[in-house]
Amino acid sequence: MTGLASYLCFFATVALTYGVAVLGLNLQWGAAGLFNVGVAGFAAVGAYVAAWITAAPAPAHWGGFALPIALGWAGAMLAAAFAAAIVGAATLRLRADYLAITTFGAAVTLQLVALNATALTGGPFGIAFIPKPFESLADRPLAFGAANLALVAAVTAIIFVALERLTQSPWGRVLRALREDEAAAASLGKAPDRFRLQAFVIGAALMGLAGAMQAQFFGFIAPDNYLPVLTFQVWVMLVLGGSGNNRGALLGAVVVWGLWTLSGTLLAAMLPGAWQARGAALRLVAIGAVLAGVLLARPRGLIGERATVSRHVVHTGEQA
């Protein structure tokens, strides 16, 4: 019984770390219309930076400063934001499809760097022994799982509230205007590139944080974690949950991570050993089929976008 409960805690913890990445993507795509196909790259930056900062020194990789986990997460967000600022400044003023090409290319490149820059990243073996939060509770699995879940739930809640505020703020209003009619918004003094770049950078910082949290909860990272399939997962979570809606983003993360875990368990149980590797591909097909099914029934996802109104407009009772 405690085994199941602590497993559920771990499942929910991981699902919420995905949720943070999906919230970041929702800011980029749902609010700003930015097509980022390099989610895995920003998550990788966050994961490796957090590992370098918090892990103990080890000969197999660079870093190992054994600093507090909070510093590792802050560093992860800053590093991912910095990476996004470079990518964004180079491509956001170009046509929209350049962003897709560049983010995809950057993510693939980063993954290859992680694989080959062995002195920095530990190469294909990655970085192990990344400290977990609440390590002192590790011998009581349920308390340990519950504490970790409480931590990631609190982080997710803070981010959720912060993002809701942002989308309902004058800043969010400019993004909505830019999405509807860029020329009209520009004619009213709004600098399109500035707002897009900010949305891109803040969203990427959240992806970096998600990568860092996953590194910390798994205790181990390797380049294989940051293949394009991670980007695919986060996109499916957003689209299935409801792009443009932060609640939908979180719901999508939990549902898709549940399906992913379940399908993995089922395929492992059903397929003979020789077929296991091919089973991984079947998992992608299954998730894609579920996504198609949901979108047929609910084209805007489980919880679609609702009309956002600036919060102060509502608060002052002006909407009579």
Binding site: S169, P170, W171, R173, V174, A186, S187, G189, H312, E318
Partner: protein, 251 residues
């Protein structure tokens, strides 16, 4: 206030605007007329920055703006409306107007987390001002309605309301009377007069010569991308070259 010299814009092989030099003095309502396809809207786009000139200089209050992006020109006090109105259809009328306030603190992402009270106070002040403008333009009853429900004429008024929220010193109006019913047209004319009395200058593109004659002190006539004639409305509309251009355009 606005100074164009030799402004030229080519699309492929065609010169949409061809060496136009103009001086728009401050404190005036100036008209810009000409047959369809004369290049009036293209000239507006060049002044407002949605298009860059192939050649020529554009100075606004002494500053060279020929290559400044549109948002910077708006921030300098140069407002414009579109020939075909472009409201943010999914937003309410009030939000359309609120958006247009320049340099809002709440437009800085971090201010919304670090200084939420200051943002809220500023937003409340902006709401008061936006409502004044909306009432002034006879859209008061529609403030909470989505902009998508507005009629063509109301959309023209909304465009003007948005521009006013940005506190411009010169406003470019592209066909403010097109598709507007006679009652609403009187409202528009009256409001432009009043805004002018408050110190805002206007450059108006319009096919309705009655409106032009009633509002504008000076009129410039364009045809085939070139400036054809300039002068007071009565003189210009009697000018043989102008009549020829209009008849030629119609034939």
């Amino acid at each position: 206030m606005l100074e164009l010299s030799g402004v030229t814009r080519r699309f492929g092989g065609a010169w949409a605007v061809d060496g136009v030099s103009l001086h728009i003095p401050p404190g005036r309502i100036t008209g810009l007329i000409g047959p369809n396809g004369a290049g009036k809207t293209t000239l507006f786009n060049l002044i407002a920055g949605s298009l860059r000139p192939t050649a020529g200089a554009i100075r606004f209050e002494g500053r060279d703006i020929a290559h400044a992006p549109p948002h910077r020109r708006a921030a300098l006090g140069l407002g414009r409306t579109f020939q075909i109105p472009r409201p943010f259809a999914a937003m309410t009328v009030l939000e359309n107007v609120l958006l247009a306030a320049l340099h809002q603190r709440g437009e800085r992402a971090f201010a919304n987390w670090l200084a939420p009270r200051a943002v809220a106070a500023e937003e409340r002040r902006n709401i008061v001002r936006a409502r004044e403008i909306i009432d002034f333009l006879a859209l008061g009853r529609l403030a909470a309605a989505p902009a998508s429900v507005l009629s063509g004429g109301q959309r023209k008024l909304l465009e003007l309301a948005r521009v006013l929220m940005a506190e411009p010193r010169l406003v470019l109006l592209d066909e403010p009377a097109a598709g507007v019913n006679p009652t609403l047209l009187e409202t528009i004319i009256e409001r432009i007069r009043e805004l002018h009395a408050r110190g805002i200058s206007f450059l108006i593109v319009e096919h309705n010569l009655d409106l032009v004659a009633r509002l504008c002190g000076e009129v410039h006539v364009m045809a085939g991308g070139r400036l054809l004639a300039s002068g007071p409305p009565e003189a210009v509309t009697r000018d043989a070259r102008v009549i020829e251009a209009y008849l030629g355009g119609a034939a």
